[in-house]
Amino acid sequence: MSAVTINGGGTPVDAPARTQGYWTGVGRRLRRDKVALACALVLLAIVLAAVFAPFVAPDDPTKGSILKRLMPIGTPGHLLGTDELGRDMLSRLIFGGRLSLTMGISPVFFALMLGSLLGIVAGFVGGRANTAIMRTVDVFFAFPSVLLAVAISGALGAGIANAMLALTIVFVPPLARVAESVTTQVRSLDYVEAARASGAGGWTIIRVHILGNVLGPIFVYATSLVSVSMILAAGLSFLGLGTKPPDPEWGLMLNTLRTAIYTQPWVAALPGVMIFFVSISFNLLSDGLRSAMDVQR
């Protein structure tokens, strides 16, 4: 892997000796995509705010004041108003990002690991192993994802860990299915055959030839699931199966503020706005990623 960059003063037709790596190209195409770039910046801002919440937030998110309940947006000292217990909305939204983002991203991450493993093995081995794995996965497909998440997390009992476990179980089947179909497609290509002909074992082929060509599409699909996961997590919290008050979490905040929908509709809608921004950003970013990863252009 040590090509020397000598271009020998060739004709203009000569391409450079060392072309950029694949991921460099993806990064360059992604940076040229204005929408994806904007979404990435929005997400970055929200993530940073959540991580550094104690420094960013103007107030304590759990400290309420019975005198300042349901102040409108723009109240001095409370830029985004206050909730039904008089807690600062801006601070709660910033702190809420911690739980909401965790609940959105980590189930998808764990499901990505498990689902890819199942799908890639099923796709690569094929035959009976494929049938056994994929039919089992199909059983979970039979249930609507919301219902499945509610059922599992209800059965396990309320709590953040259980809600995340439930969401992970919900996301394994779709990821396994995507992984399986991409792997099956790649496995039948000649370069995998050529790798077998050169004597490589199954794991080497998966590592060198399958993973690199399969993880991209699976990853793109997973990013689009993050928004679904956030909304489902918010839904679980709304139903009282996820976060417990007074912890700030966007879904739970929507729930507790719903009584204020007639008195302070704008304040009550704020957590929903945050969920909307984050999930649409993830969706558009995954779209951009998908086209940036298309090598043939």
């Binding site: 040590s2 000796a17 000649d190 050169s198 004597g199």
Partner: protein
């Protein structure tokens, strides 16, 4: 000719069962390769020709052990792939491991793009085989660069490129380099030049001939292009519906083919000479269904000379003279075919 041929193929059989769904069993069987036997000597080029679906590529994959045969044996230098005490020839050094086979025999595929991993630089692709066989990275990389030079691609310019940045001809050169990276004795070229432009095809063919001389290679050259096969081959094997119909030296096959199928194929060859223009289609109809091949001779349904004996008995691949074998009743004296009687009378 050495005592043991480089490659011996005996009665190779591959059947593909038809999938009839979950509840239907035994839907039928395609006889892709049906009792194929031939020998390849070191240093020669054996051309394999035939229509699509005649079993050329299946034969190649069987030789490479990419798919398992249902029956038959493949012996490389008299040794069969299997455990060391497997059925080997006489006092030969025992069975051949699959890894040894991979090092002895390599393959170049038709689709130059699909046969290179789009995520790997071509140097990594070429070095992959040696790396798998335990060559240190530095050495494998040096060998890859050396091979790139040998196939006419400047390593300084091409080693770090990705397959989509290369033209079809360049990619096929990379595939050839990849096949040579394990220093094989036999290279199977499965339609390796068929997808290329004519001018590029000629360049790659000449490269193949140079490499053959340089490395002392033996080629099995599979193609449907009869002109190309004539150009590169020493011997030619003609397949029809999973069986060999004729095999012999290239001059003999192209000048004086004995099997009517071979003659029909050859008369379909495009020619530059307007006096020898192909006027009538040499063969009528499609090949018969390989799930249910005709009785006796498989070619009889399309053969202009078919007689009763052709339906009754299957013609065996029999030598007519040194090195030339034909599976046709007409070429075998005493077979009962009217033309064979004339042949016997003339002799």
């Amino acid at each position: 000719m050495s005592a043991v041929s480089l490659l011996q193929v005996r009665e190779l059989v591959k059947r593909f069962p038809l999938k009839g769904g979950m509840f239907k069993r035994g839907g039928g069987v395609v006889h892709a390769v049906d009792g194929v036997s031939f020998v390849v000597e070191a240093g020669e080029t054996l051309g394999i020709v035939g229509e699509s679906g005649c079993g050329k590529s299946t034969t190649a994959r069987l030789l490479m052990h990419l798919i398992a045969p249902d029956d038959g044996r493949v012996l490389v230098e008299g040794r069969e792939v299997g455990p060391s005490r497997a059925r080997n020839e006489g006092g030969s050094p025992g069975g051949l491991t699959l890894n040894e086979l991979r090092r002895t025999m390599q393959m170049v595929f038709q689709d130059s793009f699909a046969s290179l991993n789009p995520r790997l630089t071509i140097e990594t692709s070429i070095a992959f085989g040696p790396r798998v066989h335990g060559t240190p990275e530095r050495e494998a990389s040096a060998r890859a660069q050396d091979l790139l030079r040998k196939v006419g691609l400047d390593p300084a310019r091409f080693a770090g490129r990705y397959p989509h940045e290369l033209s079809g001809g360049q990619r096929q050169r990379v595939n050839i380099a990849r096949a040579l990276a394990l220093e094989p004795k036999i290279v199977i070229l499965d339609e390796a030049v068929s997808a290329l432009d004519k001018s590029v095809e000629a360049q790659v063919l000449n490269l193949l001939l140079d490499l053959k001389a340089d490395f002392g290679l033996t080629y099995i050259f599979i193609s449907h292009d009869l002109n190309v096969v004539q150009y590169v081959s020493d011997r030619v094997m003609v397949m029809y519906l999973g069986k060999i119909v004729e095999i012999g030296p290239v001059g003999r096959i192209y000048a004086d083919a004995a099997h009517p199928y071979t003659r029909a194929l050859l008369s379909a060859m495009p020619t530059m000479d307007p006096a020898h223009r192909t006027e009538a289609p040499p063969l009528a109809g499609d090949p018969p269904n390989p799930i249910d091949p005709p009785s006796g001779c498989r070619f009889r349904t399309r053969c202009p000379f078919a007689e009763e004996v052709c339906a009754a008995r299957e013609p065996l691949l029999t030598a007519t003279e040194d090195g030339h074998r034909v599976a046709c009743h007409m070429a075998h004296a005493g077979s009962g075919h009217s033309k064979a009687a004339a042949l016997a009378a003339a002799a």
